[in-house]
């Protein structure tokens, strides 16, 4: 067992020596050079499940699968969990800003964080009210998301969960080109259908848009609306949807693909072959483009670096 206070003390001690903490669950083989491991095995409990608000309070060493398992007996869920995310700790996903969940209905897992507590490099422990939205300055919680533990070590989080859907349906439509399938998905979203999971995948000669639609107020009507808006030819190739939830766990680069930009969509499909569109939104999508994590080389990355340094020096 370790406590958030203990994490805070360790964070301070490491910062004083100019070293950076890196949470793990036992296995420290992937800890980046120059970082010190903090074993979060003892900080992986589920603290409480608030069924009324649909909020689960979990320690940050818990994996997404463990959080989901704690919700299951209460007929609740976080939404679909891609296989590669299941064994990631919540703290890891926040630090790396994991975004690869193709779920317009439930959004990205990191977006479901209603509050978090973190140990700052200076050893202080933050606190936060639990609220779906606020207007109390910048969204300071987002300072730690994507910061690779430099802006603070998350110790516990409050996550939005949902009633487990009672009913669902697969729908699929086949297209000749990736750009058409992508446009079909965007059109369905704009028609008000938000699938729990979706993907665009090649299936022999076709490009197939597949979606898993759950619990819309009228499921049959939502399926019909999806089909009418998306267009394409009827397809039975829904099995590919499982891939969307289980892409390889390799590093990735994300690009923004603007809805309506057929040329970019075509070029993207050509360049990547194994097309994967993730995080679909009505105005476009975040897409998996090619392997390799992006370099932190922009002006903004340099500013973020300065913010992290300021926190480490504070």
């Amino acid at each position: 067992m370790i406590t958030p206070d203990a994490v805070a003390r360790t964070a301070r001690a490491l910062a004083a020596e100019g070293r950076r903490p890196w949470p793990v669950r036992g296995d420290s083989s992937k800890v980046p050079e120059g970082c010190e491991t903090i074993d979060y095995t003892g900080l992986s409990q589920i603290r409480a499940v608030d069924v009324t608000a649909g909020v689960i309070w979990a320690e940050a060493g818990a994996t997404w699968a463990e959080v989901e398992a704690a919700l299951a007996p209460r007929a609740m869920t976080l939404g679909p969990l891609p296989a590669w995310l299941r064994d990631r700790m919540v703290v890891e996903s926040l630090a790396e800003d994991d975004r690869l969940r193709p779920s317009p209905r439930y959004g990205q897992l990191t977006e479901g964080v209603l509050a978090l507590r973190a140990a700052l490099p200076g050893g202080q422990l933050t606190q936060a009210s639990v609220s779906p939205r606020r207007a109390t300055g910048p969204d300071l919680m987002r300072t730690v998301v994507g910061a690779r533990h430099r802006a603070g070590l998350v110790t516990d989080v409050h996550l939005q969960a949902w009633p487990r859907p009672a009913a669902g349906a697969f729908v699929a439509a086949a297209f000749d080109a990736f750009a058409d399938a992508f446009a079909g998905g965007v059109a369905a979203l704009r028609a008000g259908v938000r699938p729990a999971a979706w993907q665009v995948a090649r299936d022999r000669g076709d490009v197939v848009l597949a979606a898993w639609i759950v619990d819309e107020p009228g499921l049959d009507e939502a399926v019909a609306r999806f089909q009418a808006a998306a267009g394409g030819r009827p397809s039975r190739a829904t099995g590919g949807l499982a891939d969307a939830l289980a892409p390889d766990a390799e590093p990735y680069e994300l690009l923004a693909l603007r809805a309506g930009d057929r040329a970019a969509a075509a070029a993207f499909a050509e360049a990547t072959r194994g097309a994967r569109v993730l995080d679909l939104r009505p105005e476009g999508a975040t897409v998996y483009a090619r392997r390799g994590r992006p370099e932190h080389s922009s002006d903004w990355a340099a500013l973020a670096d300065a913010v992290h340094a300021a926190l480490e020096e504070a």
Binding site: A53, S131, R133, R190, E221, P282, A301, D305
Partner: protein, 510 residues
């Protein structure tokens, strides 16, 4: 360290031209406040406002950036100004500071219909923007009650919420990217979609910063097709808890109603929807007093009633507890109807009485009818203000009761619940009070705010849902964020190292 004023004014004028800078007394006075109600009490109490050294109106984002460079070099505080509709003192000028009014940045730079996004400058007025979009069959979906008198930049700077936030989100949910100028005077565009490998989510750092980290000069925002259909309904719910249950059920079922608006029993009477209270209850009398002016005896009666709010609030507790729930669903025809039917199922199950389309349509017709009777009330020795807070569904009912209890001996209080999310929602409290002297009014006003915010903090809820902090809530911002304030301090240190952006706002300076 600041340079002589004349030299600074000349440098500012060189950027914007002599017609777009003013040091006239009338302008200084006009820009000496926003719509924070406390400022009105201060004026009535005879307190002199702080006047800015100058007001400048840049015509382009580049000019805005150049103004920032001049102010940084001169060490002059900058107060960004949208339309001044903020209700927290956020746009109040600082001693010898420069107010940068962004309303000349009013271009709709790009409408990308295929992508469903627009790029719009920060000074664009809300209602005009919505009208422009409507012409193209689009909507931003952001309808604050102040839409006629607020700007896109002000919305972004304060994390504003529109009346349809349950469907379209708050303004922070609509941002694709921002164009900003921080303390180095460089015009930059934030990375689209948040962080994506940039180390932190820069959009969410600037949104809500209330002018303390830099100027927002433009934004790319998501837009939507105009709804093809709207379904309206009103429900008379047995009590507040039953109404909250419907709101929660709808949002957790994944529905996206445009409006879910629950009035507490007092507010229900105020909007004229509790049939049981129509015939001469104490509240109906109070409503008449609040609505019909303040001459002679009526004025006395009003001030007396508001000076002893304990009795009024106690009388309210004896009233029938019925609460009006207004629902509006929208979108494509089938979607709007299906969601309306689903919410109707929830409302019936919670004991709601269907009032038909009337209350929803009445709400739409009067959605921007802001009360302009406040001046009369102030003149009569009373005051009115609002504060909106948010929390999870589990604690919302108890928070509502606790705040009413905490402020009930100081002010008359009523509330509605108007922004719903899967995990919780907001409570919008309106309070009114009175006292014999101006000093006593200020003291009572402050005491009500303090008691309200203390209670919110004690309940673990958040102290602001959409009005921001400015000066009115900064006393409780450390309680809200705890040690997390260090994140803000680090952002400030990097983005505004000389501390010239809206000093003293948001947090109490360390």
């Amino acid at each position: 360290m600041s340079t002589p004023l004349d030299a600074d004014l000349a440098a500012l004028a060189a950027v914007v031209g002599p017609d777009h800078i003013s040091t006239r007394g009338a302008d200084q006075t006009a820009y000496s406040r926003d719509l924070w109600p406390r400022a009105q009490l201060e004026r009535l109490a005879g307190e002199a406002p702080t006047l800015p050294a100058a007001v400048v109106w840049p015509g382009t984002a580049e000019e805005a950036a150049a103004l920032v460079r001049v102010c940084v070099a001169a060490g002059r505080p900058i107060v960004p100004f949208g339309a001044g509709s903020g209700v927290c003192g956020g746009a109040r000028p600082m001693e010898r500071g420069v107010v940068i009014d962004l309303k000349r940045l009013k271009a709709l730079r790009r409408v990308d219909e295929a992508a469903g996004t627009i790029e719009v400058e920060a000074g664009y007025m809300g209602e005009r923007l919505e009208r422009q979009l409507e012409r193209r069959g689009l909507t931003l979906g952001h309808f604050p009650s102040s839409i006629l008198c607020s700007t896109v930049g002000g919305w972004l700077a304060g994390r504003s919420a529109g009346q349809c936030s349950s469907r379209y989100g708050k303004i922070e949910d609509m941002v694709v990217d921002l164009e900003v100028v921080a303390g180095d005077g460089v015009l930059r565009r934030t990375p689209a979609y948040g962080s994506l490998g940039q180390g932190l989510d820069w959009n969410q750092a600037f949104v809500g910063s209330e002018g303390t980290l830099g100027l927002i000069t433009a934004a790319t925002l998501r837009v939507h097709a105009q709804p093809a259909r709207r379904c309206f309904r009103g429900w008379l719910m047995p009590d507040v808890d039953a109404g909250l249950k419907v709101m929660r059920g709808a949002m957790q079922a994944g529905l996206r109603p445009a409006v879910l608006r629950l009035y507490d029993p007092v507010d229900t009477v105020m909007v004229g929807s509790n049939p049981d209270a129509k015939h001469g209850g104490p509240l109906a009398k109070l409503k008449t007093l609040l609505n019909e002016g303040t001459g002679g005896l009526k004025q006395k009666a009003l001030v007396t009633a508001l000076s002893n709010p304990r009795w009024l609030n106690a009388a309210i507790d004896l009233l029938p507890q019925k609460s009006l729930l207004v629902t509006v669903t929208e979108g494509q025809d089938a979607e709007a109807r299906a969601e309306d039917a689903a919410i109707a199922g929830l409302a019936r199950a919670a004991g709601g009485q269907d009032l038909g389309e009337g209350p929803g349509r009445a709400w739409l017709a009067h959605r921007y009818d802001v009360s302009y009777k406040q001046s009369k009330l102030y003149a009569a020795g009373a005051f009115v203000d609002t504060f909106e807070v948010a929390g999870t569904w589990t604690g919302l009912g108890a928070l509502y009761d606790a705040v009413r209890r905490a402020v009930g001996d100081k002010v008359l209080v009523m509330a509605h619940f108007s922004h719903a999310y899967p995990g919780g929602g907001s409570i919008y409290f309106t309070f009114a009070g009175a006292a014999a002297s101006r000093a006593a009014q200020l003291a009572r006003y402050d005491a009500a705010w303090r008691a309200g915010l203390d209670t919110v903090v004690e309940h673990g809820a958040t102290i602001a849902h959409h009005h921001g902090s400015g000066l009115s809530r900064r006393s409780h911002m450390d309680a809200e964020h705890g040690a997390g304030r260090a994140w803000f301090d680090a952002l400030k240190q990097v983005l505004d190292p000389t501390g010239i952006f809206n000093p003293g706002k948001l947090f109490v300076p360390r």
